[in-house]
Amino acid sequence: MKIPVLLDRKKTKAASSGGQVRVLDGVPMLAACVAIAAALYIFGLTGVLSSNIQRYLLKIFLYCTLSSMWNLMSGYTGMTSLGQQTYIGLAGYSLTVMTATYAMSYWVGFLVGAVISTIVSLILAIILFRMRGMYFAVATWVVAEALRTFFTSWKFVKKGAGMTVAARPYPSTSTIYIIALTLCIIALAVVYFLLKSRVGLGLTAMRDDPDAASSVGVDIFKSKLLVYVVSAIFTALAGGIFYLNKGSIYPAGGFGISWTVSMVFIVIIGGIGTMGGPVLGSILYVIFEEQLAKLPGGWTNIVLGLIAILVILFLPDGILGTLQKKLRFEILSQKRFSGE
């Protein structure tokens, strides 16, 4: 980790009784982020990486996008969704239908997936935002399950048998790697700047107490809508790219709850409500997943579950969250300091 090196150069923001929190942001952090991103681009474009490594990395980029969006919803806004797979499934099917049924480019597939997800999220928002907490969570899941059932019996998408992506020419792994990396960078930037904005200030207030937030002037509906729709779009784009890499989709996979399980796992072990948590979580998750794939079927989930339980028991703020608390630093914090 590069953190200790960066710490020395960081400005210190004094806090009278809360101790001192070093915030890692500004120019050094930007430089570090640009350096990492540039390195990942160069590795991808020059073909230094084997296609296996590229596949691992692109999975990390996609999970990072998905879980950052889930973190934005649950960790910062207080909307815990169990149904983000709705948008992954819709995007995956948009991609296959556009490429296989209509013989269009996969870019059209991504675009259609994003547009459909935007429309669906706007409509669902009206219904789902009447519910809070557990009710909201379960309702989002029910929507995804309903879609899964619908797609399983929909002849146009070949029912439960699923469909194959037919992009021509089929992009190479390194092309998909570059697309996924770009999406991931944009997603992280969007989350960061959203949290730093005026709306972002209201989001955390809303997570803690929506009624009190509205009584000090926070527009709850608008803020929730923005977060929900932005999450839906990025989740859809990540889902589209995932299925371009995978090559085929079937309803139980696209609309499966295991997507949410992965996102929750990543955010919990990384650190909910932190910028870096989903990044760290995604790296660990992909490593675990690849290593555990050698185990006999079913064991993967048991071991992942055990890891999650251990982290929740001993590091309730996640790995990065606990480190940040113990060592009193925050990477790209959304916190506002009085500056006095």
């Binding site: 107490d209 000090v216 506002r336 009085s338 006095e340």
Partner: protein, 242 residues
């Protein structure tokens, strides 16, 4: 100095249960207007009608010359009505400073840069300045009550509604609250203060209203109201043989 707020013949309630009936009173600019009355007489309901959580079925509420009877809650917040909750509801995961900053940015419509100044002023006025970077969830009850007031001040209200901010505090803490209200009055705020702690009502208010069964029973100088036979009867009941 003029009239800040007028309730004229306001009736309101929840569903078919009517709580306020023909409630009328006036609040003058710059005064501390105390409200007492037995439990269930409609004090908090009056606040809810005033900030727009419920809409009266009859009567008018005039604030600063605007008829706000049917206006939406967030629009009233922008006109300058700020409230505190009887049971404090801080944004627990945020720092004290951030709690007030949210109000200054979203409630008063400042940029974050201007809001910072407004928030710090509100924290100084409420005695929370030294705890500005503390997580709100870690505050004591007194400080949570202070934070309720600071957050309401962050929205830059012209009229401040205090709902039992002294309830549950120790005697010394009640003194702190009274000093804070005096400071707020000196700073030019008009305040309506609901409280059961009699000491605060006698010593800190300019005008006192006693409510009973959703009406204005008596309004006047605090001591006159406290010593009146009517008020005594409302609190203690009327002997049956009289």
């Amino acid at each position: 100095m003029g009239t800040k707020l007028v309730f004229s013949n306001v009736s309101a309630g929840y569903g078919r249960i009517q709580i306020l009936s023909d409630l009328s009173f006036e609040v003058q600019e710059g005064e501390v207007f105390g409200v007492i009355g037995p439990n269930g007489c409609g004090k908090t309901t009056m606040f809810n009608a005033l900030i727009g959580l419920i809409i009266p079925s009859k009567g008018e509420i005039i604030f600063d010359g605007h008829n706000i009877t049917k206006m939406a809650a967030n629009a009233r917040c922008r006109l300058g009505i700020g409230r505190t909750y009887q049971v404090p509801r801080p944004f627990e995961g945020m720092s004290v400073f951030e709690n007030v900053l949210v109000a200054a940015v979203h409630g008063a419509g400042h940029s974050e840069k201007e809001g910072r100044r407004v928030a710090l002023d509100a924290l100084k006025l409420t005695g929370l300045y030294d705890k500005r970077e503390v997580r709100a969830g870690e505050l004591t009850l007194l400080d949570r009550k202070r934070l309720e007031i600071a957050r309401a001040l962050g929205t830059e209200p012209k009229l401040l509604l205090l709902d039992e901010v002294a309830a549950g505090l120790t005697e010394a803490e009640v003194k702190d609250v009274m000093k804070m209200v005096a400071d707020l009055k000196a700073a030019g705020y008009t305040i309506i203060w609901i409280e059961h702690v009699i000491e605060t009502m006698v010593n800190s208010t300019d005008t006192l209203m006693c409510m009973a069964e959703g009406r204005n029973l008596l309004v006047g100088k605090p001591l006159d109201v406290m010593n009146s036979k009517l008020v005594e009867e409302v609190y203690l009941g009327v002997p049956e043989d009289e």
